[in-house]
């Protein structure tokens, strides 16, 4: 019961934060909303008993990544007039309706029946949460045994991304 209440609370927070990111014209507000969104998301991870992931979410995304975002936005320091006018054109309305309709179809017609709220699907999910699930040890074992290849590939990807950033950004190498 308490879990359900918290879930809806966090989910509402995520949705509100996420929509603010898109709808706000001022990028600083967008970034701050994204921080809020990340915190609520971390709350949902805690409900899924993935404590480590929740903390990583806060540490890496809300902490480091978002600060860099805000940093860039602050350095650009856009003025009101540079942000442009928010106009509702015909095609934007058409696009909005299309997006909402697609989302509704996916949510109710496709995902609803695919994820029944009772029955084997639920039992299976509960079975999955074994002893120590979501802790440092469990995540570590998965990361370094079952998923060591993706892990290493990610590290290479990050290295290449750093090299790439220098190549793109630095005038004289």
């Amino acid at each position: 019961m308490a879990e359900a209440v918290l879930f809806y609370l966090f989910a509402a927070g995520v949705l509100a934060g996420g929509s603010q990111v898109v709808l706000r014209r001022n990028p600083i507000y967008g970034a701050v909303s994204l921080v809020g969104c990340f915190f609520f998301l971390a709350g949902i991870y805690v409900l899924l008993s993935a404590h480590l992931i929740a903390i990583l979410q806060v540490l890496v995304y809300a902490g480091a990544v978002m600060v860099l975002f805000v940093f860039v936005i602050m350095l650009l320091n856009l003025k009101e007039e540079e942000l442009g006018e928010l106009r509702f054109t015909f095609w934007k309305v058409v696009g909005l309706v299309a997006v909402l309709a697609t989302a509704a179809v996916i949510a109710w017609r496709a995902l609803g029946p695919a994820y029944p709220s009772t029955g084997p699907a639920r039992d299976n999910a509960i079975l999955l949460a074994a002893e120590g699930f979501g802790g440092v040890k469990a995540v570590g074992r998965t990361l370094y045994l079952a998923a060591v290849l993706p892990f290493e590939l990610t590290s290479l990807l990050l290295l290449v991304a750093i090299v790439a950033a220098v190549v793109v950004a630095k005038g004289k190498i």
């Binding site: 600083i28 701050v32 809300a62 902490g63 600060v67 860099l68 805000v70 602050m74 802790g135 440092v136």
Partner: protein, 409 residues
């Protein structure tokens, strides 16, 4: 804490599982714990503000605040009352919403840290299994608060201060985090109480003296924590000569006091983390954690109080060191600060983590090596401290203390 409440309910003659009020009692205790913790944070920050001014005065051969209360101790209360009564100004061009919200972000980030900070053998709000990681993570809110305050003030000084501060904090988070991973490696757990339990009461059982890399890691952590707390010699974000007062330039009244509350309260936090991770925390010499757990009755209470006192003593000593550094060292430049972080501390902390992992394998094969290293490092540290003390006494003898203890003190 849950066990304690369950026992309490049992002592009243109810079954905690069946009694309808159990959940409410939990909630009440959680509320009480939160209240105590937040107040501890605020009051300790207030007292430190007084202590720092007294220490500064002593170092500069002057008097410092000495009128309100004995030794001027109540000065911080007077200051707090003054700040509360002052007008809360919001600059006309500022972004009002973010401007008002920023101090709360900082307060929340700061107060959340105390959830996982141990005080004694039993005294901790929640011993999370990801404790130290949690502490590192929630500090992120402080950065968000600083950035919000700097940007929303719509003032150049604030913006520059905020940018400097954010760059400094996210840079130094890396060496600090890596240095803290060394005790985590040694203890095999992230829980703060678990790390303390993995150490011992005697100095050679502390993690700081476990091996050379851990010894270095302590200093890396301490330097990084100074930088993260915007303390001298890393107080560039608030450099008076350059930036007026940094990100809090435009603030006044109560909101202004929040920033300083966080800054002074942070001294306790960083010192307590150093004590927990490297200096054996609340461990009493000669009393192993297992025997501590087994104690009952009055002895247990005495041991508890002793462990609390020991922890507080170690922590307060480092709080004093932080103040001491502030009034001794000059401020460094921005480029020096960044160089120091990225070119020295970050590589050193990574190398240290690798060294410790290798060292643990080695000690696993040859346990005597670990013991020998512990004793050797402890001995070296003891000799260094003794030499420092002797030298200081000699200096005092030669020049004499110029301070006048008779009047006004």
């Amino acid at each position: 804490m849950q066990d304690f409440i369950d026992n309490l309910i049992r002592s009243w003659g109810h079954d905690p599982a069946a009694w309808p009020w159990t959940q409410f009692l939990y909630l009440a205790f959680m509320g009480a714990a939160a209240f105590i913790v937040v107040n501890f944070a605020a009051i300790s920050a207030g007292i430190f503000s007084w202590a720092e001014r007294r220490v500064a005065a002593r170092m500069q051969s002057r008097v410092g605040p000495n009128r309100v209360g004995p030794f001027g101790f109540l000065q911080w209360v007077a200051d707090a009352v003054k700040l509360l009564l002052k007008e809360d100004l919001v600059p006309a061009e500022a972004d009002a919403v973010l401007f008002r919200a920023a101090p709360y972000f900082m307060m929340v980030g700061f107060a959340c840290v105390f959830v996982c900070l141990p005080f004694s053998h039993k005294l901790i709000v929640a011993d999370l299994n990801i404790g130290i990681f949690y502490i590192l993570a929630v500090t992120a809110l402080i950065v968000v608060g600083i950035i919000m305050s700097g940007w929303s003030s719509n003032s150049k000084w604030s913006l520059f201060g905020a940018i400097r501060s954010a760059a400094q904090i996210i840079s130094y988070e890396i060496p600090a985090g890596m240095a803290l991973m060394i005790p985590v490696l040694l203890a095999g757990t992230l829980s703060t109480q678990g790390i303390i339990r993995a150490q011992g009461g005697w100095p050679w059982q502390w993690f700081i003296f476990d091996n050379p890399a851990a010894f270095a890691a302590f200093f890396i952590y301490f330097i990084s924590a100074l930088a993260e707390g915007n303390r001298t010699p890393f107080d560039l974000p608030e450099a008076e000569s350059e930036l007026v007062s940094g990100y809090n330039t435009e603030y006044s009244g109560m909101r202004f006091s929040y920033f300083f509350l966080v800054e002074w309260g942070n001294m306790w936090v960083m010192s307590a983390i150093a004590t927990t991770m490297f200096l054996g925390g609340w461990q009493l010499p000669g009393l192993s954690p297992a025997r501590f757990d087994a104690l009952t009755g009055g002895v247990a209470v005495i041991a508890e109080i002793a462990s609390l006192a020991l922890f507080a003593f170690k922590t307060l000593f480092f709080v004093f060191v932080v103040m001491w550094l502030r009034w001794t060292l000059p401020r460094i430049r921005v480029d020096q600060m960044m160089n120091m972080c990225w070119k020295y501390l970050v590589p050193a902390s990574f190398a240290g983590a690798l060294f410790v992992a290798a060292w643990m394998l080695l000690v696993h094969e040859a346990p005597w090596l670990g013991q020998a290293m512990r004793f050797a490092l402890t001995a070296i540290a003891a000799v260094t401290v003794a030499a420092f003390a002797l030298r200081t006494l000699k200096n005092l003898r030669d020049t004499g203390d110029k301070f006048d203890f008779t009047s006004n003190w």
